[in-house]
């Protein structure tokens, strides 16, 4: 056998030996980070791609030739420089030269047999970590091979119980985290997973409540007042957080068409939001009767209405049906067709004036849907002109989800402060997103109108559902009020969740559960 061949055999043996001692993925990551090396550096040295190294480190794949040998050699070397114990050690502990064999230099090396495998023997507690192992060190004591040990901090209690010989003399220091110590010179990874981002965003809400409670020294009323006061900047910040990795950049200050600009600060613009104010003509509160009516309240109607088609950019003008597109949204000038249904409210709200009217896309979508054969409730409206832009339904969805989840938690925990805070956040977000001096970070009156009319459209949907289930719709008012006669619990779940309905109690005569008579003819 020539020397060259022998070398190659030796190399193979060495590789096999290293492969047998291959550290776990987490350990590979720890070693590299402990040495302050970047993946790119390691990848260049080993001769593979950076992603390959990343895969090796998170366990997606195991090192394969041709890079494997070099990589394992590197890891072995790093393991000697940065043994598993070292990064988790506090300076006090390393400074105390006790009998505890924790420092890398104090631990004897693993004994390797001629077959390339680590020598085994009577199982005994490991020198380094204290966990029982059959592997032996060069001096005959038990030791985990390679750098397979956990840090002694993580197993400190175990060690105290199981190891009689190398009992640490120094007092146990407060246990540092067993994870890899952060390297201060390198920035944290910036990309966040969706779940983590959402948890962080939700954390902002709890943090604000906590802050204000502490500032008010437990005075709930004062804290609530302070929270309502800071609701607008806070919700804009939440909105910004949810937009952090978003696909679209919206236009916050678009040039507005005349119909959307207010003639003065007090006068409204020309958009009809289709706000309902419906009282069934066949029933009357004035005539005493025995028809039992329940006033129902939609929970957080505006919060749910955040899920709607919102125009992203500047609104552009178009005439006729050109502006109608499932992927576009804005405002439309329509002539609605007449509404003749005897029992259901007009989806266009209580509008007395006939003729063309500017409505939002949310209302138009409802009208067009009701004109389809599935409903067949009215003829489609005539669209004269539109101001629209490309739209998405998911624009405020992340914000809606975050607030809804926080609201649910607050209800479950009976946390009225957080509940009020969340209510202030979403309602003020919507009411100030137009031209408001209280919120200058966004100027989208079109969004405000669309969200409002989406809430009314959602309410109409509830009325329709009640009617389909055989209930009588007695009244439909405002954003969230629906009065029905009949067993409504069969139709709507009762509760405070966004998908549930609750009985509305107020000072008005027609609130809670009341009775009503039929109108005189």
């Amino acid at each position: 056998m020539s020397g060259e061949q022998f070398d190659r055999v030796e190399a193979l043996l060495e590789e096999a030996r290293l492969t047998a001692r291959m550290p776990k993925p987490a350990e590979r990551l720890r070693l590299r980070q402990a040495a302050g090396l970047s993946r790119a550096q390691v990848a260049a040295a080993v001769g593979v791609g950076r992603q390959t190294v990343a895969n090796w480190e998170d366990g997606t794949t195991d090192p394969q030739p041709p890079g494997r040998f070099k990589y394992l050699r590197l890891l072995e070397g790093l393991a000697q420089i940065h043994p598993a114990a070292a990064p988790a050690q506090g300076p006090t502990e390393t400074a105390a030269p006790s009998g505890a064999p924790v420092a890398g230099s104090a631990v004897p090396e693993t004994a390797w047999g001629p077959n390339g495998l680590a020598v085994q023997g009577e199982p005994a507690p490991c020198l380094r970590c204290g966990v029982t192992t059959p592997y032996k060190a060069t001096d005959g004591r038990s030791l985990h091979p390679g750098a397979m040990c956990q840090s002694p901090a993580a197993v400190a209690p175990l060690q105290a119980a199981a190891v009689p010989v190398p009992a640490p003399v120094s007092a146990p220091s407060p246990a540092p985290s067993p994870g890899p110590a952060p390297v201060p010179s390198r920035p944290q990874r910036r990309a966040k997973s969706a779940a983590r981002a959402q948890a962080e965003t939700a954390g902002l809400i709890g943090q604000a409540v906590h802050e204000e409670l502490e500032r008010a020294q437990g005075d709930a009323d004062a804290a609530m007042k302070a929270l309502v006061k800071r609701a607008i900047p806070d919700v804009m910040r939440l909105f910004g957080e949810t937009r952090a990795t978003a696909r679209y950049t919206y236009t916050a200050y678009p040039a507005l068409p005349d119909i959307l600009t207010k003639p003065s600060k007090r006068e409204p613009d020309q958009i009809w939001e289709a706000r309902p104010n419906f009282h069934h003509p066949r029933y009357s509160l004035k005539n005493p009767g025995s028809i039992a009516v329940t006033a129902l309240d939609v929970n957080a109607a505006y919060l749910s209405a955040l899920k709607t088609w919102l125009p992203i950019g500047k609104l552009e003008h178009s005439t006729g049906m050109d502006g109608i597109d499932p992927k576009r949204s804005g405002v439309h000038l329509i002539t609605p067709s007449p509404w003749h249904h005897p029992h259901l409210p007009d989806p266009l709200g209580d509008r007395d004036q006939p003729g063309p009217v500017w409505v939002t896309n949310a209302t138009l979508r409802l009208l067009l849907r009701l004109a389809t054969p599935k409903y067949g409730l009215l003829d489609p409206p005539v669209v004269h002109e539109s101001w629209t832009s490309g739209a998405t339904e998911n624009f405020l969805d992340a914000l809606r989800k975050t607030l809804t989840a926080a609201r649910e938690t607050a209800i479950a925990e009976d946390d009225t402060i957080t509940l009020e805070y969340i209510k202030a956040m979403y309602s003020k977000f919507i009411s100030t997103m137009g031209e408001s001096i209280h919120n200058r970070e966004i100027m989208r009156p079109d969004w405000m109108h669309i969200i409002h009319s989406q809430a009314y459209a959602n309410l109409w949907g509830k009325a329709y559902k009640a009617h389909q289930a055989g209930l009588d719709v007695i009244a439909m008012m405002g954003t969230d009020e629906l009065h029905v006669a009949g067993d409504w619990r069969q139709v709507f779940p009762e509760g405070r969740g966004v998908a549930q309905m609750k009985i509305k109690h107020s000072d008005a005569k027609a609130s809670g559960e009341y009775t009503i008579g039929t109108a005189a003819r």
Binding site: T249, T251, P254, K314, E316, H317, R440
Partner: protein
């Protein structure tokens, strides 16, 4: 100044629509000014304006500038609510009020826009090209830039002096120094906006 032969100089040649950035800048500063909300023809709005205008010498000067030349006795009657100004004088009072109000908020506007040296991030919406023939359309994005430094002081001074040329020059400075090579495309805009 920007090049005089730029294609974006003669806006409207291909039916693009927009206003000069300097104009939009002035409109943006205008939007920042708040004051008495009640209209001048309401009792409350008139009383508030008169009180504001008669509280200082600057107020009398503003009335002078607006062309209100009435005898002190009339002014006292207005203040006491015994007499209502004529329609023309109501309009002049309103103009005088807003004139004075603008002068008084100049320092506040500069402070808000400078934001302790951090400046203000502005959003620039490019010109409206929806009527431009497709082959003449240019790919323009909405841009967000941070404007800081002495620019805001100059802009507010030009705004209060109604100096359109200076505002246009300031706008050219802003876009030349912060936008890339296509800065010229943003000489005219459809709107700009900021939160300050």
């Amino acid at each position: 100044m920007a090049g005089t032969s730029g294609r974006w100089r003669d806006l409207g040649a291909f039916r693009a629509r927009g206003v000069h950035g300097g104009v939009a800048l002035a409109e943006g500063i205008d939007r920042m000014v708040t004051g008495i909300e009640s209209p001048v023809d309401s009792e409350r709005g008139l009383a508030a304006r008169l009180r504001y205008l008669t509280a200082s010498d600057a107020g009398y000067e503003a009335m002078d500038r607006a062309g209100i030349h009435v005898r002190p006795r009339t002014l006292i009657a207005w203040l006491a609510g015994e007499q209502t100004p004529s329609k023309a004088n109501l309009a002049r009072l309103d103009a005088a009020y807003w004139d004075l109000r603008r002068c008084n908020v100049v320092a506040g506007l500069k402070r808000r826009l400078n934001n302790r040296g951090r400046g203000t991030r502005i959003e620039i919406d490019p010109v409206d090209q929806s009527r431009v023939q497709h082959r003449h359309q240019r790919d323009l994005q909405t841009r967000n830039i941070n404007v800081r430094g002495a620019v805001w002081d100059r802009a507010v001074d030009a705004w209060i002096a109604h100096d359109t040329q200076e505002l246009e020059a300031i706008w050219d400075d802003i876009i030349q120094s912060t936008l890339g090579t296509d800065w010229d495309a943003y000489t005219h805009v459809s709107s700009i906006g900021w939160a300050a």
